[in-house]
């Protein structure tokens, strides 16, 4: 997959704990990991931006062992449901959590342990599709059993397209600003590993001194962020920081306010850096479009053009292709990085390619006369919360366990729950924060006399959406 031996003497990882691993060492250790995996099956990786976590991931990708990347920072109880449904043969997890997860330790590297699992009653386990390499979740850390199934071809194709348009070479030193179970975070790792670059691993966030010390000391050359990352950096007076080595900033995971995007683009131009607005979905491995930096200033509200080897089209409500510019339609993507499909249980891992390289994104977009695309809306009821997809109908169902008369609407980074009974405000916010893993700032509860309904009797979401302003 990564052709690690090509860059034997390059450094693959440097951590904020002072650890280093060359590509040669990484390749050798990946071999040891793979040898320990004697039973054909599935690996769950409880991801952290630490050496052990990354070595396990690379080992599985290199040696064709299907792996699922999950949030390692969450409580084990969130994970139990997924273990029950998928019954992974192995779990790669931080060694201090092995007791709570069970199983038998068969291999260790750095702070991680490989647990061989056994189950009293086994679920149906048809042979996993040999094409399947990687499964990712779509909705952050909610513990939803819905995975996106990706092949090695998907992963490699997307990494190569990204490396091409970002012009990644072995001199790059990206610092981890995103979780490594998140499709955008994984894409940063993959697109740099195929080029022999050095990844700087930290669990620190931009809100911490340790992060900035590590970034400066190791001369990080790029950062990747969701819209909220760039809002935080602005609050941290990023534009006044002296960061001569930091040359590239990428943004995806939702729509950054276009005025803020413009500020970053102008700042980058002035300082000899580059700022890339990008668009994608886990269903397409990660990336579908980028805004070429030479056009960034004139097209700063755009998601740009399709990545190399990808192609966009727009379709109208009848499924016909829209040829003329400036007309809204559903954005459809065709490319080698379009996932095989979804899985919702172990048996689904046997499934073949259900998408055939074509993804209906569910996003409404238009194309200008120069061929640049603009996202103008969404067909489904979801919002992005700090880069993570959050379904409003599912949120509403959660709230109904507390009070049945409720409705959820939202904008990115803020979900508003309308209820008709007072007194549950704190309870609702606490429950949603626990269930979704989002900071409680993501939720607001408003008490109104009654939930507005249309004449058809359906909940009138547009009316409530209008009440937000």
């Amino acid at each position: 997959m990564f052709d690690l031996d090509r860059y034997q003497n390059n450094t693959a990882f440097i951590t904020d704990k002072g650890e280093r691993l060359s590509y040669g060492e990484l390749s050798a250790e990946a071999g040891v990991f793979a040898k320990a995996v004697t039973k054909k099956g599935l690996v769950f990786c409880l991801c952290e931006n630490r050496l052990g976590s990354l070595v396990g991931y690379v080992a599985c990708m290199e040696h064709h062992i299907p792996i699922v990347l999950l949030d390692g920072s969450k409580d084990i109880s969130v994970l139990q449901n997924l273990i029950t449904i998928y019954q992974p043969e192995y779990i790669w997890i931080s060694s201090d959590k092995t007791e709570s997860i069970g199983g038998k330790t068969i291999y260790k590297f750095a702070t991680f342990s490989l647990q061989k699992m056994s189950y009293e009653v086994e679920v149906a386990k048809p042979e996993i599709n040999p094409e399947l390499a990687l499964c990712l979740t779509t909705s952050g850390s909610t513990g939803s059993p819905k995975f996106v199934r990706l092949s090695a071809v998907n992963v490699l194709a997307n990494a190569e397209s990204i490396a091409e348009y970002l012009e990644i070479d072995e001199n790059e030193r990206p610092i981890t600003t995103l979780p490594s179970y998140y499709s955008y975070g994984v894409s940063v790792i993959n697109s740099h590993l195929i080029k022999g670059a050095t990844l700087l691993l930290t669990e620190g966030t931009v809100a911490q001194r340790e992060f900035w010390s590590f970034l400066k000391e190791q001369k990080a050359t790029s950062i990747a962020g969701v819209p909220y990352t760039y809002e935080m950096l602005k609050m941290l007076r990023f534009f006044r920081m002296d960061l001569p080595y930091l040359k590239t900033m990428t943004q995806a995971g939702g729509k950054l306010n276009k005025d803020i995007a413009k500020e970053y683009i102008e700042h980058a131009k002035e300082k000899g850096k580059r700022f890339f607005v990008m668009y994608g979905q886990t269903e397409a491995t990660a990336r579908m479009s980028y805004l070429p930096f030479e056009h960034a200033l004139e097209k700063y509200a755009s998601i740009g053009i399709a990545i190399p080897r990808g192609k966009f089209s727009l379709i109208d409500a009848n499924g016909n292709t829209i040829e003329e510019p400036d007309v809204d339609g559903e954005l459809v993507y065709i490319g080698p990085n379009v996932s095989l499909g979804y899985a919702e249980c172990r048996a689904d891992l046997a499934k073949g390619d259900e998408n055939h390289g074509e993804l209906h994104t569910g996003d409404v977009a238009r194309r200008d006369s120069d061929g640049f695309y603009y996202i103008t809306g969404r067909m489904k009821r979801f919002v992005k919360v700090w880069g993570n997809r959050c379904n409003l109908d599912a949120t509403e169902q959660l709230v109904k366990t507390i009070t049945t008369s409720c409705a959820c609407v939202g904008v990115d980074d803020k979900i508003t729950i309308f209820v008709t009974v007072q007194g549950f405000e704190n309870e609702i916010i606490k429950m949603l924060s626990e269930k979704t893993g989002f900071n409680s700032k993501a939720f607001e509860v408003r008490v109104i006399d009654s939930i507005p309904v249309k004449s058809s009797g359906k909940i009138d979401y547009p009316a409530m959406q209008a009440m937000l302003n």
Binding site: A207, E231, M232, M235, K441
Partner: protein, 78 residues
């Protein structure tokens, strides 16, 4: 209200916790104090004390006690 009471109030309101929990509280010590919570805490402190914090002070504010130490630099006495 004393400055300590004001700061306690900011922490209590930002994170939705009890006042007695603020003592010794550290960044990532509770779920609410992640990077998102940190930024809203900083904004609330800036509002409450009518100051503008420097970058270094924002990223150094890693505990309730550290917040007091940093605010002292802005002539907020404890």
């Amino acid at each position: 209200m004393t400055n300590l009471e004001k700061l306690t109030k900011v922490f209590v309101e930002s994170f939705g916790i009890d006042a007695e929990k603020t003592k010794g509280l550290q960044y990532q010590g509770i779920d609410q104090w992640d990077s998102v919570g940190h930024m809203s805490l900083v904004a609330a402190i800036e509002d409450e004390f009518d100051i503008q914090l420097d970058t270094d002070d924002i990223i150094d504010m890693s505990s309730f006690e550290k917040a007091q130490e940093i605010l002292s630099k802005y002539d907020v006495k404890f």
